[in-house]
């Protein structure tokens, strides 16, 4: 029962976060200046008919929400209209049907454009995360065990420098080095024509394109994971049960793996979940540098073309994914450590 209540509570807050993001997204699009749909409507060269046509196309002819025709709080409108006929609820209805609006640039539905991109981003993040987490846990453990030695100092220096590197810049440097000296492909997901190939050849080509972006991602994430793992293990290693284990005559390897590592893993789950926002930021930068066709590249291109619907759609997809991933991590944590359900 307690477990069920805990689950319900977590899901409730995830839904709140989701609603917050959706409402924010709705109002951002309508409040802030520089909204091109409206800028277009204000263009003096347009006839009244074509202005109205644009309004209808973007749904701007309907009142924003009950009682408010526009977002001007002084201009109140009719409160008794059908709420389903207001922009606010039409927006939600469209979202439920997976409709994220229409791109200004390509005139295609945003949802259709971004659908495939999400998978590519997940591939990149997935590979990078797995390598970074394993290496980070391993190196962090070693650094904590050998604290105050040259190994620890080296590991600390590396992680602090990796943490200070702007991700996109590291990407550029690796791109420069990789393409000049190693002859690795640096742009996109396939070589020209490879997307038509099947099977092994195609897989190998994609893998080659993944090397440099994944390397960049790993270095950036590794620094942080190592720092956190090190401080967690340091804390665990000064617990009394470590001293007991040592007194029992267990060898160092056993103590490190069976006692320290297991107990240090729990906080790592939380940190990895809390870090998802940072992860996404890294992916955006890396995709922009390497033209990896994911959500980050979509954002980069949308910024340069001032394509707001794509920008907002990408933000929405990322935010929703991160919220769900976070929820999953919290549920995983409660499964791993049943004590948190009690508190």
């Amino acid at each position: 029962m307690k477990r069920f209540k805990y689950l319900l509570n977590k899901i409730k807050w995830a839904v709140f976060a989701l609603l917050f993001v959706l409402v924010l997204n709705f109002f951002l699009f309508r409040v802030l200046p520089g909204d091109p749909a409206r800028a277009g409507v204000k263009d003096p060269r347009m006839t009244a008919d074509s202005q109205q046509a644009i309004r209808v196309r973007f749904g701007l002819d309907k009142p924003v929400i009950n009682c408010f025709v526009s977002l001007n709080p002084l201009k109140l409108g009719n409160c008794l209209i059908n709420p389903l006929q207001t922009q606010f609820f039409i927006y939600f209805g469209n979202l439920l049907q997976g409709d994220l609006g229409i791109s200004y640039q390509t005139n295609r539905p945003v949802g259709e454009m971004l659908g495939g991109f999400l998978l590519n981003t997940l591939i990149l993040i997935g590979f990078g995360q797995i390598i970074a987490i394993f290496l980070g846990i391993f190196l962090g453990l070693i650094a904590a065990w050998k604290s105050h030695t040259a190994i620890d100092f080296g590991a600390m220096t590396f992680s602090l420098v990796a943490w200070s590197l702007p991700t996109f810049w590291l990407g550029i440097v690796l791109l420069f080095l990789g393409s000049t000296y190693l002859g690795l492909p640096v742009v996109g997901k396939f070589s020209a024509g490879m997307s038509l190939q099947e099977g092994w050849l195609k897989f190998l080509d994609v893998a080659k394109h993944l090397i440099l972006p994944t390397l960049t991602f790993t270095v950036v994430m590794l620094g942080e994971y190592m720092l956190i793992m090190r401080s967690t293990v340091l804390e665990v290693l000064s617990e009394d049960y470590i001293l007991t284990a040592k007194a029992k005559g267990l060898n160092t390897f056993q103590i490190l793996v069976d006692h320290a590592l297991r107990n240090a893993m729990l906080p790592m789950v939380t940190i990895i979940a809390l870090n998802l926002g940072f992860t996404v930021a890294g992916a955006i930068q890396i995709e922009s540098v390497f033209s990896w066709p994911g959500l980050g590249l979509a954002i980069f291109q949308a910024v340069n073309r001032r394509d707001y619907p794509v920008l907002q759609g990408a933000f929405l997809i990322i935010a929703i994914t991160v919220i769900f991933a976070n929820l999953f991590a919290e549920l995983l944590y409660s499964y791993l450590d049943p004590r948190v359900q009690a508190s």
Partner: protein, 281 residues
Amino acid sequence: MLIITILIAVFAPILAPYNPKSGENVSISDIYQPPSAQHLLGTDDAGRDVLSNFMYGARVSLIVGFFASFISVCIGGVIGISAGFFGGKIENTLMRFTDIMIVIPDLPLAVVLVALTKPSLLNIIFVIGILGWTGTARLIRSQTLSVKERKFVLRARAIGSGNFHIIAKHIFPLVLPLLVANSVLVISLAILEESTLSFLGLADPTTISWGQMLNFAFTRGGVSSGAWWALLVPGLGIVWVVLGLTLLGHGLEQIFNPRLEWHHLSVNPKMIDRKEDVKNG
């Protein structure tokens, strides 16, 4: 490390060999020139001197870093202290709101906000500022919680001090050191975020920043023409400042909020000594 950067930024007009804003006579042969006696760090995609741009760019990075983190730390401090001090419903509401803000990924939201409000220096500072306070709020809340439990707060309450007085005179001074250490780390995050936004193409077009220099060099053929000087220099500047701030921040945190450095498996076991130290000191 920081002092050097600040000096460069302050004295940029004196130190820089060229003024980046003056329209010089640029010919096609000036573009992406390698470092020479005339241009110590070469020229960029528009034939401008990289060294001068670099010096002026330091100003934008530092200004954005300081002001944005000032906003963040103020919001985070107020939320953290009031959540920790008042407890109950106020704490619940504030911390739940903080949790929601933590979950929402910063960078995509910042991109959307800056893109919609037009990228100007003020907007960038404001957006980075209002998105960066969550970590500070959490840290300050937990510190306030521990300070609140101390005896002198109870005593102050016993002699009839009001909430505001207790916060201002008793809580805030004890939270301040941690707040300062944290704000140094927040500055480094803000500088990184600013450079990322400018690299993505959301820089104030009237100023020069390091991220923007990288954007120009990257999107305008710097890689294919092998212009490593235009790509390397601004990036190294960012690393230099952020690393300096991070070291300073961690150092301050270590002083104000010391963590363990020795343990039972240490090569040079000092656990027992340390415990003695703790008892004595």
